[in-house]
C-alpha cells in the first residue's frame, strides 16, 4: 500500500487536494470499515455503554426507572462509603495485598530468569522451564482448589506433615493472618515461570561481546550478572514495575473471591470483593457502582502518576 500512497502524493502535491485524496482513500477502503465495524460495535456496547452507566454512582438507581430517569443524589453514596465501617479495612487490605504481591512476586521471576540464564546445560534448562511454565495454564479455581486440598485441616498433606513433626493442626484457610501469605505464595508458584520469560528474552538480547570483554578483564560471573545482565534488562524491569505498581490496587480479584470465606474476611475483604458482595449479591447497585468508580479512578491516576515518575527518573515509560 505504501507504494500506492507515494504515487498519490507524487501526483497531487497541492495542499487543497489533500482532503480529497483522504476522502477517496476512505472510499476506496470501505471494506476495511465494514470489517472493523462489528469490533467497534462490541467495544461501544460492552465497554463504553457501561461507562455511561457509571452515572448511577451519583444517582439512586431504581430498576423500574432505568439509568437515565433515576434521581440524582450527588455524592451520597461516596459519602456513605467513606464513613462506613468497612472503608478503612477495605483500603488497608487492598493496598497491603497489592504491595505484598509486588514485594515478593515481582523480584522472583527476575531471579529465576537470571538463574536460568546461567544454566548452560540446555536440556536441564528446558526441563526447568517446561515445569515452571506449566502452572500458568491452570485455572484459578484449580489452583485455589489444590490449595484447599493440601491445606485441609484433617486430610491435607501440609497438616499431616505438621502432625508428623508433632505440631498442632493449622486451619490455614480459616485464619485471617494466613490469607495474604497464602495468596502471594500460590501466586508466585503459579506465575513465576511464565513471568520470567520476558526477562529471559531481554537477557538473550544482551550483546555477548560485553561478557567476553568483562571476562578478559577478569570479572567473575556474579560481577558480570550485576554489571552486565541486570543493567541490560533494566528497561524491561522498569516497564513491568510501572505496570505492576499502576495496578497495585487492581488485584486479580477472582482468586481473592475464591479463597474468601466468612472466617478470613477480616484479612481477605478487598474493594472488588466488597463491590461484588454488596452489588451483585445484595443488589445495592448505586452504592457499589460508586465504590467501583472510586477504585477505577484511583487505579487510573496511579498508573498515570507512576508512569510520569518513571519517565522523569529513568527515561523509560509506557507512553
Amino acid at each position: 500500500m505504501a507504494m500506492l500512497q507515494q504515487e498519490h502524493v507524487g501526483r497531487k502535491p497541492l495542499k487543497s487536494t489533500a482532503r480529497i485524496s483522504r476522502f477517496s482513500k476512505i472510499l476506496r477502503n470501505w471494506q476495511l470499515y465494514v470489517m472493523i465495524s462489528p469490533v467497534l460495535a462490541y467495544y461501544i456496547l460492552f465497554h463504553y455503554v457501561p461507562m455511561y452507566g457509571i452515572q448511577i454512582a451519583f444517582k439512586d438507581f431504581r430498576i423500574n426507572k432505568g439509568i437515565w430517569d433515576s434521581p440524582w443524589v450527588g455524592l451520597k453514596h461516596f459519602d456513605r462509603f467513606f464513613h462506613s465501617f468497612f472503608f478503612e479495612r477495605l483500603i488497608f487490605n487492598t493496598i497491603e495485598l497489592g504491595l505484598y504481591l509486588i514485594v515478593i512476586g515481582f523480584p522472583i521471576p527476575i531471579l529465576l530468569a537470571l538463574l536460568l540464564n546461567e544454566a548452560k546445560a540446555e536440556r536441564f534448562k528446558k526441563f526447568v522451564q517446561t515445569i515452571t511454565y506449566a502452572p500458568h495454564f491452570l485455572s484459578t479455581v484449580v489452583v485455589v482448589g489444590m490449595m484447599m486440598i493440601f491445606l485441609n485441616p484433617r486430610y491435607g498433606l501440609v497438616n499431616q506433615f505438621i502432625g508428623a513433626l508433632g505440631g498442632d493442626t493449622v486451619n490455614f484457610m480459616a485464619n485471617p493472618s494466613w490469607f495474604k501469605t497464602l495468596y502471594v505464595l500460590s501466586d508466585v508458584w503459579q506465575t513465576m515461570g511464565w513471568s520470567s520469560i520476558i526477562y529471559l528474552a531481554a537477557l538473550g538480547g544482551i550483546d555477548t561481546q560485553l561478557h567476553e570483554a568483562a571476562r578478559v578483564d577478569g570479572a567473575s560471573r556474579i560481577r558480570r550478572i550485576w554489571h552486565i545482565n541486570l543493567p541490560g534488562i533494566r528497561p524491561t524491569i522498569v516497564i513491568l514495575l510501572i505496570l505492576n505498581l499502576g495496578s497495585v490496587m487492581a488485584i486479580g480479584f477472582e482468586k481473592v473471591l475464591l479463597m474468601q470465606n466468612n472466617l478470613n474476611l477480616a484479612s481477605s475483604d478487598i474493594i472488588d470483593t466488597y463491590v461484588y458482595r454488596s452489588g451483585i449479591l445484595d443488589a445495592n447497585y448505586s452504592f457499589s457502582a460508586a465504590i467501583g468508580l472510586f477504585s477505577a479512578v484511583i487505579n487510573f491516576l496511579l498508573l498515570v502518576l507512576v508512569n510520569a515518575v518513571a519517565r522523569r527518573a529513568g527515561g523509560t515509560s509506557l507512553w
Binding site: Y52, I56, A119, L138, A201
Partner: protein, 285 residues
Amino acid sequence: MFNIVVYSLLSLVALCVLYPLVYVVSASFSDPQYIMGGEIWLWPKGMTVDSYASIFKNDAIVRGFLNTLLYTAAGTGLNLVMTILAAYPLSRSDFAGRNLFMGVMVFTMFFGGGLIPTYLLIKNLHLLNTFWVMILPGAVSVWNIIIMRTYFQQSIPAEMQEAAVIDGCSNFQTLIRIVLPLSMPIIAVTVLYYAVGHWNAFFNALLYLSDRKQFPLQLILREILIQGQTDEMVRASTESAIKQQRAVEGIKYAVLVVANIPMFLLYPFLQRYCVKVIMVGAIKG
C-alpha cells in the same frame, strides 16, 4: 561452585512446582483411604480408577465438561473472527482513522465501567442465563488484536498485498486469499490463547448464570473443591458415611486431573508457540 549453586537452586524451584502436580495425579489413582491416612507421598498406593469411574457416573461433572467444551469452541471461534476483523484493517497504513480506532480500544484496557454497570447492561440486554452471555461479553481482547496486527505488519510483505490489489483483489479478497494463508502461526497462537481463557474462565459464569444445567466445568469444580458441596456426588450410593467420605476425597483429586486433561494435551504447543509470541513482543517492545 557457582554452577552448583545455580543448578541446585533451579532444581529446588522445579521440585517445588512439580511436587503438588505429581501428588494430585498420584492421589487420583490411589485408594482414598490411603490419602486420608496420609500414606501417600509420591507414588499411588492401592492403585485404583474408582475415583475416575465415579466422575463419569456423575451428571453434573459430565454436563459441566460438555458445557465448557461448547463454550470454548463457540467462544474461540467468535474471538478469532473478531480479532482478525480488527487486526487486519489496523495493520494497513492506508487505513484512515486507525489511530482513533486503536485508541478507542486501548482506552478500555485502562478504564472501564466496572462490575455493576456491566452487570446491569447484561441484565437489560436479557442475556442473563443464556448461552450468549458466555460468548459475547469477552468477544475480543485488545491484547490479541495488537499481537495479530503486529504480525500482519511485520511478517506479510506489503508488496504482496499491493500486487493483489493491482490484480483486482478487493480488501476482503486480499485478507482471505493472501494474508490469512500466510498467518497460520499467529492464528494458532491466538486460538490457543483464547481457548485456554475460555476453558479456565469461571467469573462470568458465576455472575451471569444461575441455572446449574448451564454451568461450565470450573463452577462445578468450585462447588466440589472449594465449597465442599459434594452431597450430590454420593447421595445416590447407600454406602456408609465413612465410605462416602472416602469417595468424596478421591473425586476431588480425579476431577482436578480430568479438568486439566485438555490443557495437558495442548501443553507442548502452548509452551512452544506462546513463549515465542512473548519473546517477539519483548524484543520489539
